[in-house]
């Protein structure tokens, strides 16, 4: 909770620092690639990964965005296709290191 313009408002920590100290966050982001060897369609791959993550992380909100990305907090799992090769790009911000590393490890076991 922070006081702004005479009102109590709810802000997250980086917003508070920017608002009151003028200091910007330095976002550290990681991306890692996983090559896929599969005959499944893109739709099937995204559905399968979504089910797997939802099953393992039942307390978390696991969203599919644009039919090719799965988002959990700052963790984004994106399906890419170059020519006939498919890969997953798993990215996350440093505050979600444990979650990101867990999801990367989980998806490496199915690739």
């Amino acid at each position: 909770l922070a006081m702004k313009d005479g009102k109590l408002i709810l802000m997250d920590l980086p917003e508070v620092w920017k608002e009151f100290n003028g200091i910007n966050r330095h976002v550290i982001k990681f991306s890692s690639l996983i090559k896929l060897e599969t005959a499944s369609t893109n739709f099937q791959i995204v559905e399968e990964i979504h089910s797997l993550i939802k099953d393992r992380l039942s307390a978390w909100e696991v969203k599919i965005v644009d039919g090719q990305s799965i988002i959990i907090e700052s963790v984004v799992v994106k399906l890419n296709e170059e020519n006939a090769d498919k890969n997953l790009c798993v990215s996350w911000e440093s505050q979600d290191e444990d979650l990101g590393r867990y999801i990367l490890g989980l998806l490496q076991t199915i690739s």
Binding site: P14, N24, R25, H26, S94
Partner: protein
């Protein structure tokens, strides 16, 4: 925790020195203006399939497959060059 502040040239030099101390010596650096006009320092670890983009907005570490131990070393070197709250 959250990291804050910017990486100026002195911080980037310190980061590169820390990478060298970790035995990472195949380093190539360049500077570009990305599409949004933000000056970005690009660091490539030639033999490792890893690249690091540093700008005022933040740092993005791109890893190939199976480079997680190295990613952690790079992250720790970077964290030691930034402030946290």
């Amino acid at each position: 925790s959250y990291e804050y502040g910017t990486m100026n040239q002195m911080d980037i030099d310190m980061f590169l020195n820390k990478l060298k101390q970790e035995g990472i010596t195949d380093i190539k650096t360049s500077q570009t203006n990305e599409n949004d006009g933000i000056l970005t320092t690009k660091i490539k670890l030639i033999n490792e399939d890893i690249s690091i983009d540093i700008s005022d907005k933040g740092t993005h570490i791109h890893c190939g497959e199976g480079k997680q131990n190295l990613r952690i070393k790079i992250r720790d070197a970077l964290l030691s060059c930034l402030n946290k709250f």
